[in-house]
Symmetry: C3
């Protein structure tokens, strides 16, 4: 594509030679002549003038850099999404049909154009919707319902009684519908031991939910663990039994959500943060990375730290932590100055 | 079942119509007429009067709510366990025999009524006890010993030299017996590099140990990583090489236990907490969620925070963290008042 | 082997009977007569005199204990590595050839002596170098390149467009090349929703990289996620898209590295620590367990805590945390003594 065509395609303003040929897209620090790049983060400011790319896509309002060709656009991320798909079209996942090296249980109902890979096991009375792809080595239990246009990646495990909507992605190695971690402590002679509560519920993943790799989502004792429409979950995330997560929320890698937690819509939970059991998190809440939530969070709040508190306050407090040793010294000094006052107060002099 | 029958079955006291038919169990906020529910957590207090359930199982001592049918019981969790099993009996896992689509190594010894699923691999000289079920896609290495009545869930991996007792559950995707993470740093010309220590030991999981999904338990350099009788481990937990964990302990999701740690009996470690290498944790210790242990913990203590300290103190300290900015201001104010004193002390006036 | 032979083999100084036969190696607290052990950590000091081992390998400089046979050596870990391999030689992984129960795509190129286990799937146009072993149940996608002498452990998943050097180990259940977690937020009527950025890049794992069990390494939007030569990664580690990790670095269990992070050479990141996106970590940095990095870390620094700060300062600050309640009391007391001064200042008296 020529620069002019690209600028038109993305509805951007070109500064540079209209006829220059672009043959690919690369990172700003790796791009070579003939390639297009983009300026996505202030971190890469120095590369804006140093890049060897033939053109840089930048946000409207970005200052011009002499000798650097640019295309200015309204929405950088969406523009790059479109350009990536233009230059590197997604190869559709192989519609391989149903492999003879898979095993399919009784009364399994598969829609049109379903692909089931090699060494896949599917239990009985399971339904799989049109165009859904179950990749090699995945396991689907009994009485599972999977909608249409879903992707179940290699070696993922979906246990019995899981209900999955349309356009859902389950990453490689992820386990959905494992038993929750709830035990009764039972007397056993002088000692006690744990006995697992029966988990007779299920998991519901609504339309457009996406889960990364090696995450785990447990099923409930009764009723369902529910992830609502459009929510995206990263890798190595743990979601315990009986949790409800609202629509269009984001759970980053290694987040842990304990049992019976209720999370609202449009929530963002950053990496390694944890929410303990029975907590309610309101809509539009942001929980910063590594936060340790300890109580309900009302809608619209950003929290951080342990215990998680409103971010501005928490941030101020944590930034002072490093000055604690100095504060202790200062207080000690004040104390050394103060004691005489009690004994010989000023006004009595 | 009629309410009267249920009350008798659980040895509880019924307040409500003896003849009412109950057709199922549901969560307090979702239950409908004809269903039974239970009141498990103060969070659901408002639902106690609002629920549409035909009867609520409550703890002895719970106050009566007019118009709400109740069955009062001594132990709520154990009662609900019994009722769940009564209304929704566990379907025994399929005794499918040994699948022709599995591969079994030489000199493998399987007991009576063993089930081995599709696409399972079992190494040589491995033993599997009576009634044990190895589900589809699981991998069992060489010289493994698995007791009776165990469940190995789909796509779990059990490496060579792992010894597993009776009634052990290994969750989907969990890896037991991977090499520990121990390296020697070796000079390599001007630089240095890491060379893995050989791991010639094993892992022992005693009777009634249960491990969730996608957890990892490493084997030792020499000797064994040991999880003792009745200990329960949740999802995404990491247990390093040469760790010993006592009996009837609980490790919640995403807990990390580093190498050569020694944990006692009846310990509870809550989610995302971490214990560094060579630490000893006494019996009956509770480690709160996200705690970062830094030194040995004597028996019977509850700890929290980073560095983990006795919970009452730690909790008090962490709850004051948010007031640090204010404290800094107060100390500054005191200092502004104080300096003159040094120079013009009161008693010299 | 006789003690004398062992001492010669490890180039150590023997104190004890030259002719004593040693039949194996065991942990210091478990060793029995006839076995050799080693004294690796001050924790085991008490065992140095109590052990039943026939000889203890100790570091040069260790004080003699009467009645305890010792071999003194220069480098304890390297000595034990050599002895473990001498007493318990590694059984080479089975060179089983290419299993008839695996499925190999078109134009796959396998070197000499390659082993491919049962129920392995390999995509099209993939290359696998000499002596590499792909164990049972692993999945290798399309256009993957794996070097020689590699081990891909059971049920690992390597997605398309991953490049792996020589002598690389990928642990059981680990996923390499999953899509990164990057979404565009798109208006959708009154609401908004997330749409995944296309991930058209790959992952490069250079020579001698080793990854533990159930870890995840995502691929980039464009360009590559890169792990450089000799870097070792433990279990349940998350490495996001577009990350670069230098040579001979160490990432312990449950570490999380967010997108576009750049980590130097010889870095050590201890368990459960997290690094947020776009951060640069210099060479030779050490990041303590559970640290929460919030800004760039210059070369050579050890950091700890949240927010991660130089360890000496951070450690001092965190150790004072527990005294905060006391500090608040002390400041309150100072304030109670101080207020009169403002109103009736000394020098006006």
């Amino acid at each position: 594509m020529k620069l002019k065509e690209i600028a038109e395609f993305v509805n951007g303003v070109l500064k540079g030679p209209a006829d220059l040929d672009i043959i690919g897209i690369a990172k700003i620090e790796e791009a070579r002549p003939g390639e297009l790049t983009w300026f996505s983060h202030p971190r890469y400011k120095k590369w804006l003038s140093k890049t060897q790319a033939s053109c840089v896509v930048v946000l409207n309002g970005e200052e011009d850099v002499s000798d650097v060709n640019t295309i200015k656009v309204e929405n950088l991320a969406v523009t790059m999404e479109a350009l990536l798909l233009k230059f590197y079209p997604l190869t559709p996942l192989p519609a391989c049909g149903i492999s003879k090296l898979s095993t399919i249980g009784k009364n399994v109902n598969t829609g049109k154009n379903v692909s089931i890979g090699d060494f896949v096991c599917i239990g009985y009375e399971t339904e799989i919707g049109n165009n859904t792809i179950v990749m090699d080595g995945a396991y689907i239990g009994n009485k599972v319902k999977i909608g249409k246009d879903c992707q179940i990646h290699p070696n993922a495990v979906i246990k019995e009684d899981v209900f999955i909507g349309d356009r859902v992605i389950i990453g490689a190695g992820t386990v959905v519908g494992s038993d929750g971690f709830a035990y009764n402590r039972i007397k056993d002679g002088e000692h006690s031991k744990y006995r697992r509560m029966p988990h007779r519920g299920g998991v519901i993943l609504e339309d457009d939910v996406e889960v990364g790799a090696n995450s785990t989502i447990d099923k409930s004792v009764i009723g369902n663990t529910i992830i609502k429409k459009g929510t995206k979950i990263d890798n190595l995330v743990h979601i315990a039994h009986n949790v409800t997560i609202g629509e269009n929320s984001i759970l980053c890698a290694q987040v842990g959500i304990a049992g019976s937690v209720n999370i609202g819509n449009n929530v963002v939970i950053a990496g390694q943060a944890g929410v303990p059991d029975h907590i309610t998190v309101g809509d539009n809440v942001v929980i910063a990375a590594q936060s340790g939530v300890t109580k309900d969070i009302p809608a619209g709040i950003t929290v951080s730290g342990f215990p998680a508190r409103p971010h501005m306050e928490s941030n101020r407090a944590y930034s002072l932590l490093i000055d604690l040793p100095d504060l202790f010294k200062r207080v000690k000094k004040l104390e050394e100055q103060s004691p005489p006052r009690r004994d010989v107060p000023c006004k009595q002099q």
